[in-house]
């Protein structure tokens, strides 16, 4: 956003500050590959300052709270930063403490997450020496960042143990609170077929109540028990605590946001992007990217006092690693579920939607380069529009 806006706003009229308490930027999609020794920590971490555009200040400090009615940000160090316009991009984080026993004595011993750098690294070390048993891949509750990542984890685990010649020693179970592998029917059918092919058992409609550290099992509110030797869970995801402290979040700390304009529902000079919003779009990086193009236009309209565009359609575009050097690709929005077809060129591809291919896998790996070199810099990805295109997709 800073890149886009610095390009459009006059330097003598607008000062742009980015507040970030971290000094490193993480390529979060890389966390998926870290446990399997596909990526190294160096692949996914870079200094934030390398990505700050000229003419933009980076303030490396922590926020105490935002005072949206008074238009300033209160810093922990006592500074007050006044703003005319605020973009909230505080993201989502895991909250394992929401579930009884999840962050208990077995945490990072036999219960792991891979949505944090520490969690993914601890899991890598565990997998390197694990001798097999019951592997349970689990989603606590929706919504989560990158809803396909736990599925990819299960697929990659299948591949990883095959490569280590120990697949027969590992029983993989995929446990989800949803009624199937995914929420949309066509993708669910395709993904469940793949789970079946890879001998991964699915347990659906599982609303976890607690993790039993002693007996090593997860228990749901209906009393269903699933035993594990190694539990890889995606804990509850919540917006940042700073949104709760600021009184800007809902019960999961997500900021109520207009789903088409990305303006805050409560403060007209506050805009929200990415996982920080409460909109019913996927909490995926691609969504934030598509949102950025529309949000830039809307902020420019807002500044000029013009009506905003009700344009964001919930577009998401996700590669799904399926193991063995292949991947699927899905492209969807608020109203159109993922279907088969070709992407980005109708009838040509080269990427295929909802079908496994090596080309899709190459696309996923190439994406890391695209992320560091194009997305963070606000460069438009050629041939991929902010709003989803229906061309080349096989709807009924």
């Amino acid at each position: 956003m800073a890149n886009h806006l610095r390009h459009h706003l006059e330097a003598d009229l607008w000062e742009i500050d980015i507040i970030d308490e971290r000094t490193e930027h993480h390529y979060q999609p890389g966390y998926l590959f870290l446990p399997f020794d596909i990526y190294t920590p160096e692949d996914i971490i870079k200094p934030i300052k390398d990505f700050i555009p000229r003419g933009v200040n980076l303030i490396n400090d922590s926020i105490d709270r935002v005072m949206p009615a008074e238009n300033y940000v209160q810093m922990v160090n006592g500074d007050r930063l006044r703003y005319d316009l605020l973009i909230v991009a505080t993201g989502a984080k895991i909250a394992p403490e929401e579930i009884e026993g999840m962050k208990g004595e077995a945490w990072q011993k036999s219960v792991f997450d891979f949505y944090t750098f520490d969690g993914a690294l601890a899991l890598r070390n565990k997998l390197r020496e694990w001798e097999g048993g019951k592997l349970v891949v689990h989603i606590t509750e929706m919504p989560i960042k990158c809803p396909v990542a736990p599925l990819e984890f299960a697929f990659l685990a299948d591949s990883y143990f095959k490569d280590k010649k120990m697949r027969d020693k590992v029983e993989i179970t995929y446990v989800t609170p949803m009624s199937g592998a995914f929420t949309k029917p066509k993708a669910t059918a395709a993904l469940e077929h793949l789970l079946d092919e890879k001998h991964i058992k699915i347990e659906s409609d599982f609303a976890i109540e607690r993790v039993d550290n002693e007996q090593k099992m997860i228990v749901d509110y209906g009393g269903r028990e699933i035993p594990f030797d190694l539990l890889v869970t995606v804990p509850t995801n919540k917006g940042d605590e700073v949104m709760a402290r600021s009184g800007m979040g809902d019960d999961l700390n997500y900021v109520p946001t207009n789903k088409a304009t990305l303006q805050s529902k409560n403060w007209e000079n506050v805009f929200v992007i990415g996982d920080a919003t409460n909109i019913a779009a996927s909490k995926a990086g691609s969504v934030a990217h598509f949102e950025a193009e529309i949000l830039t236009e809307n902020i420019l309209h807002y500044i000029k006092g013009e009506p905003m565009k009700d344009e964001f359609d919930g577009h998401a575009n996700c590669f799904i690693e399926t193991g063995g050097g292949k991947a699927l690709l899905i492209d969807f929005n608020y109203t159109h579920e993922p279907v088969e077809g070709t992407f980005p060129f109708p009838g040509i591809g080269p990427l295929r939607l909802l079908k496994e291919s090596r080309m899709n896998h190459m696309g996923k790996l190439a994406f890391r380069w695209v992320y560091w070199n194009m997305l963070l810099k606000g460069v438009h990805i050629p041939f991929v529009s902010s709003n989803m295109s229906e061309a080349g997709k096989h709807y009924d």
Partner: protein
Amino acid sequence: MDKQIAGVTVQVNEEGYMTNFSEWNQQIGTELAKEANIDMTPRHWEVITYLQTEFRNDVPLSIRKIGKSGVVDIKEFYALFPNAPLKTSSKIAGIPKPASCI
């Protein structure tokens, strides 16, 4: 598609969720509950009424939110509507399948 229930015709989707809430009445709710092997009690209806109120106010529903509603805790919610309580109760209430999962 059309569905005959409790002596009337209502609109449902392919998963059996009613698509026009204004067509709902308590007899239909009772019949839909029977299809899910549930005998409705006053306690069941309290929960259903709460879900319908939230739906009318455009509040998206989730198990978490219902657990914190003060109307019913999650344990009892499961006891009343076993297996997949939010989906089952939404179907009985004549409201859409909860869209909390993206």
